[in-house]
């Protein structure tokens, strides 16, 4: 217990992950066996992911439709669909709404709330922890079809629970504040994933490190910054990447607002649904999906820069 007397140097207390990262192959796997371990996953991914995804990108270059003449004989139209999307104000409106949606519900809502919950429940046992975790996870695992009814019942103008609780009957949340509604909805819906990931990640922070920091008089915030954060940086990056990606492609706001009123909550995934499924314009829908992919690429690079640079 020498650490009690000597204040810990955070950088040393933290197990140096980067140094381990490329350490030698501890299990003696070797390239060949490593390849065998990766092969089944890669094979499935190649057939059921890469191939159809490239096909989607190709469809984006055609005028393919679900029905009509263009279904029988789709034609290659080059970048027409992309030009159409980029010159369409509706597309830009949707993009801007999607940014609000991702920033509000994923980056701020889910990450902050998820981490807060994980941190608060970290050292707890028993009923309280199970109940809180259970409810948060329930919000996440309930099927969208069920959840949409729950939120309509919550936010309804006339009979909604929220208006009844707040004593403001007739307040039209979904119509007057559609973006706020779907952001809060998606925070509720998705927090569990971040909570679980951070919970598991915090579980991997050696308790002894936290203990020593605490004994050295580090405040809660200092513990977070100096001990916990360096330890879970990788998880934060993963978490941000994944939930941003998923939120970008999340279609469930459709169930709540149908993109309305007047397209005021028509995020890109809903826009694609309307274009591809409701209008049957599969070529254009595929092109927009490709654009979403490119936006996601930029976002991913941004996160990587942000979190990798802080060594």
């Amino acid at each position: 217990m020498a650490q009690v007397t000597s204040p810990p140097e955070p950088a040393e207390v933290v197990s140096p992950a980067p140094a381990r990262r490329y350490s030698s192959d501890a299990a003696g796997l070797g390239r060949l066996r490593a390849g065998a371990f990766v092969a089944p996953a890669l094979a499935l991914i190649a057939v059921f992911l890469v191939f159809p995804a490239l096909w989607v990108i190709y469809l984006g270059l055609t005028n393919y439709r679900l029905t009509g003449v263009a279904a029988a004989e789709p034609q290659f139209v080059g970048l027409d669909n992309f030009v159409k999307a980029l010159t369409d104000p509706e597309f830009w409106d949707s993009t801007w709404l999607t940014f609000q949606f991702v920033l509000g519900s994923a980056v701020i809502g889910q990450v902050v709330l998820g981490f807060t919950l994980a941190w608060m429940l970290k050292d707890r046992r028993g009923t309280l922890k199970s109940v809180v975790e259970g409810l948060v996870i329930l919000a996440w695992i309930l099927p969208s079809a069920v959840v949409s009814f729950l939120w309509v019942a919550l936010l309804d103008r006339d009979a909604g629970t929220l208006n009844a609780l707040l004593g403001i009957p007739g307040f039209a949340w979904l119509l007057d504040y559609p973006m706020l509604s779907i952001i809060i909805f998606n925070t509720w819906r998705g927090t569990a994933f971040s909570m679980m990931l951070y919970g598991a990640a915090l579980g991997n922070v050696p308790p002894s490190h936290l203990e020593s920091a605490r004994l050295a008089g580090a405040s809660g915030w200092q513990q977070l910054r100096d001990v916990v954060f360096p330890h879970i940086r990788g998880h934060i990056l993963t978490n941000l990447l994944l939930i941003s990606l998923w939120t970008f492609n999340d279609f469930s706001p459709f169930l709540l607002t149908a993109g309305g009123p007047d397209g005021k909550s028509e995020v890109l995934a809903v826009h694609v649904y309307k274009v591809a499924l409701q209008n049957g314009d599969l070529g254009y829908g595929a092109a927009i999906s490709t654009v979403i992919l490119l936006i996601n690429l930029v976002v991913a690079v941004f996160y990587l820069r942000l979190l990798r640079s802080k060594k």
């Binding site: 029905t67 003449v69 279904a71 979904l174 119509l175 309305g260 009123p261 007047d262 499924l277 409701q278």
Partner: protein
């Protein structure tokens, strides 16, 4: 610990395998027996359950029996579906494109054009043979209803039924407002006057006419198109589309008067579940007048099994024809107008047994089958005049629609681009309900329309 974990995995795996074993249904094979499948967007215990039960419990056994009597061994399987029309259409299109799908399929009449253009359906004469053209049921089906199944002069399917739209009103609220219980407006002004009276008598929502994109096609069919017809316009006529014409401006103008003048609830139109709520509110006596199809009477306020039951439907709910803007100013110079749609049933071009499939198809539309299908409170308007005469006798509303409304009605253009035009119309009503002037919304609609239908050249001057 490790051991315990392993056993859990083993249990999980075993249960998954066991369940998977249970889930497999064995595909039965038969020698030279003919196997047919019939599919509808209907499912027992869910959407259109009565139709699904009818096929499974009556059509299939009777048809197999009749075939057996002819010395043929035919087995029929019903493939239920029961989802959103758009999703059904997507799946059906993918199936048909890949040469899959049931032998006998149902489609919405409005899809006929785009399905035909894509090669998903074929003219019955080519696919089945002359017996399809000479089917005896055709003589019983009115010309206009036959038109539903016709594309570029060829019959692609048999019509399954039709419907009509009227103005429903709450007689209790009308009496309170000093309006007659046998109300029949003769012009739009009379509708507005009645709504104003309802409003001053304290009715929360005097009139509700579907608007906005959230309601989808309901806005177009139970809103824009009947009104447009009343203003003397058609969405497409002789190959030319209607842009910002006077009729369109009048139509959007009525929306403006209703939603701008506080006679309707513009927010109800924007909610994702707004149509459900409108039905609920009508049933609760909060809405005075509602423009809806006969489905509203049969499926919504039906005292037996409606989604917004009204126990006193027959006493409280009145109905009236939709008037033209002024007498004689509707399409074809009519005083009253309506819009109709209807489903079609046809043979999958990929079927191995087109003749037998057509026999099955025709059998489902035989008088006996239709009578069986529509008994016990499942009455709807069938395509056949002979059957309608019998089954509609005890049904005042359906008789009214069949006799008074269908002769006045109009149909949507069965062309591939129509669904997108419909969305543009919905957006125009949304704009007006949200406060945009009608003329502006009409002009915006025209601009959008030009992009959809291939330039201003395809829009009537």
């Amino acid at each position: 610990m490790v051991l315990r974990k392993r056993s859990v995995v083993a249990v999980l795996a075993a249960s998954a395998l066991g369940l998977a074993g249970c889930g497999q249904s064995s595909g039965g094979g038969g020698g030279d027996a003919i196997e047919l499948t019939i599919s509808q967007n209907a499912i027992a215990g869910g959407k259109n359950a009565a139709a699904a039960d009818h096929i499974a419990n009556w059509v299939i056994p009777k048809f197999e029996e009749a075939q057996k009597a002819k010395g043929k061994d035919v087995t029929v399987k019903f493939v239920p579906s029961g989802v959103d029309d758009e999703q059904y259409k997507t799946k059906l299109s993918l199936d048909l494109k890949s040469g899959k799908g049931a032998d006998v399929i149902d489609i919405d009449g409005i899809w006929a054009g785009e399905f035909a253009e894509a090669g998903y359906i074929k003219p019955l004469g080519e696919l089945v043979g002359p017996e399809a053209e000479s089917w005896d049921g055709w003589q019983q089906i009115p010309e206009a209803v036959q038109g539903l199944a016709t594309f570029e002069g060829k019959k692609y399917a048999l019509p399954v039924g039709t419907d009509g739209r009227v103005l429903y009103f709450n007689k209790t609220l009308f009496t309170k407002a000093g309006l007659p219980a046998d109300w029949q407006p003769k012009s739009w002004q009379e509708i507005l006057d009645a709504a104003a009276k309802l409003k001053s008598s304290g009715v929360p929502v005097p009139i509700q006419i579907n608007a906005g994109t959230a309601m989808g096609e309901a806005t177009t069919m139970q809103g824009v198109l009947p009104l447009l017809a009343g203003a003397g316009g058609e969405v497409q006529k002789d190959g030319k589309w209607t842009g910002a014409s006077q009729a369109m401006k009048d139509t959007l103008g009525l929306y403006q008067k209703i939603y701008g003048g506080g006679l309707g609830d513009p927010k109800l139109q924007q909610e994702a579940k707004g149509r459900d709520k409108a039905f609920q509110q009508f049933a609760e006596g909060k809405i005075g007048i509602l423009l809806e199809g006969d489905y509203f009477w049969r499926g919504v306020v039906n005292p037996k099994d409606g989604v917004a039951k009204m126990d006193d439907r027959d006493q409280v709910v009145g109905y009236a024809k939709i008037p033209a803007i002024e007498p004689g100013k509707g399409i074809r110079g009519q005083d009253f107008v309506s819009m109709s749609g209807g489903a079609l049933r046809t043979v999958n071009p990929a079927t191995k047994h087109p003749k037998e499939a057509f026999e099955l198809l025709a059998f489902t539309l035989s008088p006996e089958a239709l009578k069986e299908e529509t008994k016990d409170g499942n009455v709807r308007i069938t395509p056949r005049t002979d059957v309608n005469k019998e089954i509609l006798a005890g049904e005042p509303l359906l008789t009214y629609i069949s006799e008074e409304v269908l002769p006045l009605t109009a149909y949507r253009p069965p062309v591939a681009v129509y669904p997108q035009v419909s969305v543009a119309l919905q957006e125009a009503t949304a704009a007006v309900a949200g406060g945009t002037p009608a003329d502006q919304a009409a002009a915006d609609y025209q601009k959008k329309l030009e992009g959809l239908v291939g330039g201003a050249g395809n829009i009537a001057a």
